[in-house]
Symmetry: C2
């Protein structure tokens, strides 16, 4: 990774993998196959199997910190990320942590994400402003993914508020574009609001977008591609978690996850006019 | 705690402890006394000493999750909170984590805070709206402390934006007051903006406020008390971290922390017309 910006590494993954799909790894003990529930390191074993099964179809993996933290499985999260780096060095790992704090505390969260877990990028919350983003930007070749227009139903009340005629989420998008000196920033923009995704794309030119909300949440892939693609027909990391990792809770879970990932990748590629297997 | 709301327990602590001071526990390895840096569990040993030294002067303790997470010291955080509950059962523990996520992930973060760490309250971020707060509110006798007007200098750009003539932080305050069916919500309102603290107080009647930013950040205690007190001259949990826990980095650190806590408590009490030792 030395010398390359996060955006450069992400674009290389888009090209090499021929995919915009990101698989989110949000394990829940009760939804794992029974034989894995009794494993000494259940989330690591599950995560490795999902990674191996879906790696041919993704441009990124996105493990979710809370799912590991609720169980005290931080060591398994660190080991899983290390495994991805070792086995699939061209596929960036996004730590989905949505941290937001300032000063020495934000420095600690940046250390947690980039040093302890060695993530390529981390999701962060803009509510505290630049003080809360700067400690991540200081890692100039890592990615900083700022919440902009989230996919959940009750995000309107704040994110669609108008600040001097501009909706708040667009103000966030423009501000992050100004902060992005080292091609390291992205924006979270939910698939469930494609018109707003389009406005964000227009506001930030070719900044990559992290797009959750396809699959279980109902975001429409064709509308997402039309609204959010960049000039090269890429520009997005389209994340799906439960629809892929929990495609089956039986011993065929890895094969079923691979099938679901391949299907989703193909659907995305069809919508952007790219033919893949 | 059964049957009591979080607000009731907090008010009991205000009365019994005769203090509005909250000591924030944000350990940094390089700032610990040398003999503790080589301890097998340095943050636990340091935290216990700070807790024992300052307990007579506080209404709450506020350990900061990032400082433990950056070092992989989660077990020490859990043990420290368990120690506080066991030794000082009347003093609530606020886990400062500033989490913000939705759905199953927010449920995991709530489990992390309230089950794994057994915190009495947790700080959360409002950017994702009600979906991100509801899983915490479901623990009806625990506290949910929502970021409102944070104390850091660059929070203006978003938090002071006007949403239909109302500054965003006030819209957040009013919204949280509506969510607070079980007397469990608080708002983070920085000591560095006393006029806005007053507007928040006016908007939310007697909801307790978590007030960081006195001490190192320069918030003025008299102005804070005047702006933020409730009808009983309480209503706030005034948090100070570095000014107390790092009052000394020598072997006298605990005594110096106790002195600083007592001094700060007395200054707060003087400003609210309460005489304490």
């Amino acid at each position: 990774m030395p010398g390359e910006t996060f955006h450069e590494r992400l674009r290389a993954a888009w090209r090499h993998q021929q995919s915009l799909l990101c698989v989110g790894i949000d394990p829940e003990l009760s939804r794992l196959p029974v034989e894995l529930q009794e494993h000494a390191e259940p989330f690591l074993a599950f995560g490795k199997a999902i990674v191996d099964a879906t790696a041919p179809h993704v441009c990124a993996f996105k493990p979710q910190a809370a799912h590991f933290a609720a169980k005290g499985f931080e060591d398994q999260l660190a080991a899983l990320i290390e495994y991805i780096h070792h086995q699939y060095p061209g596929i960036p790992v996004i730590l989905d942590a949505k941290r937001g704090d300032v000063g020495g505390t934000a420095i600690c969260y940046a250390q947690e994400a980039f040093e302890r877990y060695a993530a390529d990028a981390v999701t962060v919350n803009p509510y505290l402003g630049y003080d809360s983003i700067a400690p991540y930007l200081a890692y100039q070749n890592r990615g900083v993914i700022v919440l902009c227009r989230t996919s959940n139903p009750h995000s309107d009340w704040l994110q669609k508020g108008r600040v001097e005629e501009t909706p708040l989420y667009l103000a966030v998008a423009r501000q992050v574009a100004e902060w992005d000196e080292h091609q390291q920033c992205m924006l979270v923009t939910g698939a469930t609001y494609p018109e707003e995704l389009r406005r964000v794309r227009d506001a930030v030119e070719d900044m990559p977008l992290l797009v959750p909300g396809v699959g279980a949440q109902g975001g429409d892939i064709e509308r997402v591609i039309s609204a959010g693609k960049d000039q090269e027909g890429a520009g997005m990391v389209i994340s799906s978690s439960r629809g892929i990792i929990f495609a089956s809770s039986d011993s065929d879970f890895a094969q079923r996850a691979a099938d679901a990932a391949q299907r989703t990748k193909a659907e995305i590629n069809k919508a952007r006019g790219v033919i893949t297997g």
